[in-house]
């Protein structure tokens, strides 16, 4: 039978998707077959896919085994590998690259699809964000009514895409970066923002009323029900990812309190936010691969902490570094900054124009050596993060400092670093 012939191929090279590619060539219906009989959840968007996939995986995991794909292996081949590796798992949570959502949805008949956000990323591969949204919209219209789409009400392109789905749960997942949807997707008039909600200046379209919102650290549903929403991950975007993950868990039938507890326990995703001691430095790894991601990253930096900026431009990063000029690097003024990565020369020129003095080093060790001892935030894009993790692989993990609230503050810690 199929599984016997293909299993050796699917075990080819841990971390590689070559086995998946070969297997799909031999059996193009493989993905459909592997998904049959399982509850599948798809997670996609420009930023937050990996984190939200992990959070959903943990939340669904309270009820039994869950298959999931490794970060980066989010196109067809990687998905096939994940499903094949964990045959016993009755549920699967799949991180899916934005360009692959319609085809993967058509072939896996998901129970839930989470649509997080859409903004510019890897423009050499995805030239127009709007076209991704259009294909999503066409794909959503094909879904069965059994599928719930959990979609970000604060992103106009996501709303444009999701509204054609038979069943949508709108989530107030918020929006930090607003540069990629200046025009109304329905009528092309300019969009405006009123009291934090987007609306079109030319037609009746506006932010839909969300079913699920974050009210001061509590997730509240308009259908009744509220749950404590805490996360050990830093920054606004991760609170939003946690809210979406909870929404997905609820749509899948998981108990909200147990899901929220599982979500709150996640402190690091693929090395992100992890702190490691390297000589005299404690390096915290942060992923940032496009302007929207950097916009969120600035909200996570601790005052006074030096920063390493590590940027590559391999295929997985996007081959062009023009996006660096849409990042407000001016906000690094006043910090000590070191630059590394294959495209450090591009970053150096950007930082000079931004008025940020910096040193340039050929590798992470050199970058750290240029900075005073103590904590350092290392902001890396996709493959540069891989390189940073490799450089820090032998270094001990430093646990998060425990924050002791001063006398008089409530005992319930705020969402953020535990």
């Amino acid at each position: 039978m199929l599984a016997g012939r293909l299993t050796p191929l699917l075990r080819l090279g841990r971390g590689s998707t070559v086995g998946g590619r070969v297997a799909l060539t031999l059996d193009p219906r493989l993905l459909d077959r592997l998904a049959t009989g399982r509850d599948v959840v798809i997670v996609s968007g420009t930023n937050g896919k990996s984190t939200t996939t992990r959070l959903v995986g943990e939340a669904l995991g309270v009820d039994g085994p869950v298959a999931s794909n490794r970060t980066g292996a989010n196109m067809t081949e990687g998905i096939v590998l994940a499903l094949a590796r964990e045959r016993a798992a009755g549920r699967a949570v799949l991180e899916v690259d934005e360009s692959y959502v319609p085809s993967v949805a058509a072939r896996t008949h998901p129970k839930v699809i989470a649509l997080l956000n859409l903004s510019r990323d890897q423009l050499d591969r995805v030239a127009e964000v709007r076209k991704v949204a259009d294909r999503w919209r066409q794909g959503m219209a094909q879904l069965s009514p059994d599928c719930t789409v959990v979609a970000n009400a604060d992103d106009p392109l996501v709303v444009w895409a999701a509204e054609t789905a038979p069943h949508v749960v709108w989530v107030a997942a918020g929006r930090g970066w607003v540069q990629d949807a200046p025009l109304c997707p329905w009528c092309a008039a300019l969009l405006a923002v009123e009291e934090g909600a987007w609306r079109c200046t030319g037609c009746e379209h506006r932010r839909p009323e969300p079913e699920l919102s974050d009210v001061d650290g509590t997730a509240v549903s308009t259908t009744g029900g509220s749950w404590s929403l805490r996360t050990a991950l830093p920054g606004r975007a991760n609170r939003s990812n946690a809210l979406v993950a909870l929404g997905v868990a609820l749509a899948t039938g998981v108990d909200g309190d147990r899901a929220a507890a599982a979500i709150a326990a996640v402190g690091s995703v693929d090395g992100r936010y992890e702190r490691r001691r390297h000589g005299q430095h404690v390096a915290r790894m942060l992923l940032s691969k496009n302007p929207a991601g950097w916009s969120e990253l600035f909200t996570m930096l601790e005052p006074g902490v030096p920063v390493v900026v590590a940027v590559n431009a391999e295929i997985a990063d996007g081959l062009d570094t023009s996006w660096l000029w849409d990042v407000q690097f001016e906000l690094l003024a006043g910090r000590q900054v070191a630059v590394t990565g294959a495209r450090r020369a591009d970053v150096a020129v950007r930082l000079t124009v931004a008025g940020v003095p910096h040193t340039v080093a050929p590798d992470l060790a050199g970058a750290l050596a240029a900075l005073p001892p103590g904590p350092v935030d290392v902001a890396a894009n996709y493959t540069a993060m891989r390189d940073v993790r490799q450089a820090l692989a032998g270094c001990p993990v430093v646990p998060e400092p425990v924050r002791v609230p001063p006398v008089g503050e409530g005992t319930e810690p705020a969402g953020g670093a535990a």
Binding site: R120, L123, A127, E128, P182, A188, L190, W325, A345, T352
Partner: protein, 251 residues
């Protein structure tokens, strides 16, 4: 009253590829020479000043390009500025919309501002994406390096001069479906038309090509300008030029 006013046109609509960096580079290089610089970012709803010293307009998505062109036509500030000979750097969609016509979704011949003798067509074959290297038409300029990412192909009118000859990449391209010759041949990029410099070079183009930035500044201020320490940019240029020479031809 500043020494130099820079207008960045509709960065919210035409800023998808980092081209706002061109305005930042101009400001940086002018400030480094002791000039007092005003950078005005004009968004839809605000008038485009007609009397500024230099204008920067960048690339964006289809619908945004169409919306921007309509707004600019109605406003009239940019056409007046071009009419009085103000230096303009126009990249990609910004470059296209200055011409006679350009393609958007559903309309292959949307009217442009008609300020420059070019027209742009969409072709069926794949987008032009990759490192772009030019031998400049203007004497004294070093090679122009950047990254292109566009679907349109631009035809220059008989009187229009290209910005440069393509050494690697596609640039304005050709329309008849012929194979794009990576080694150059007859391919050109961009346009030099009066005070307008148009190009498909992102990067941003002025970040990678300080000589072009200084050319625009000298035209805007009456020049000449003292040189700056460009060691960092020269390092970047060396790397980019080496990368282009090492790359395999595009399929």
């Amino acid at each position: 009253m500043s020494d130099l006013s820079i207008v960045l046109v509709f960065p919210g609509l035409l800023g998808t590829y980092g081209d706002r960096g061109n305005a930042l580079v101009l400001r940086h290089r002018a400030t480094a020479r002791g000039l007092d610089v005003e950078l005005v970012e004009v968004e839809p709803g605000q008038p485009v000043p007609a009397a500024a010293d230099v204008y920067v307009i960048g690339g964006g998505e289809d619908e945004a390009q169409g919306a921007a062109c309509e707004l600019l036509a109605r406003d009239g500030g940019l056409p007046r500025a071009v009419g009085r000979g103000a230096p303009v750097l126009a990249v990609c969609a910004g470059f296209q919309l200055l011409g006679e016509s350009f393609p958007v979704s559903g309309d292959p011949h949307r009217a442009g501002l008609g300020l420059v003798d070019v027209r742009t067509e969409r072709v069926a074959q794949k987008r032009a994406v990759g490192e772009l290297l030019l031998e400049p038409t203007l004497p004294g300029l070093p090679p122009l390096t950047g990254y292109e990412n566009h679907a349109g192909r631009t035809v220059l009118g008989a009187e229009a001069t290209p910005l440069g000859r393509v050494v690697a990449g596609i640039g304005n391209g050709v329309l008849d479906g012929a194979v794009h010759d990576v080694e150059g041949g007859d391919l050109t990029d961009g346009v030099l038309a009066g005070s307008v410099v148009g190009t498909y070079l992102h990067g941003p183009v002025l970040a990678r090509n300080p000589a072009l930035a200084d050319l625009l500044l000298e035209r805007a201020t009456g020049g000449p300008l003292p040189p700056l320490d460009d060691a960092e940019v020269e390092q970047l240029r060396r790397e980019r030029l080496a990368a282009v020479r090492a790359q395999t031809p595009r399929p």
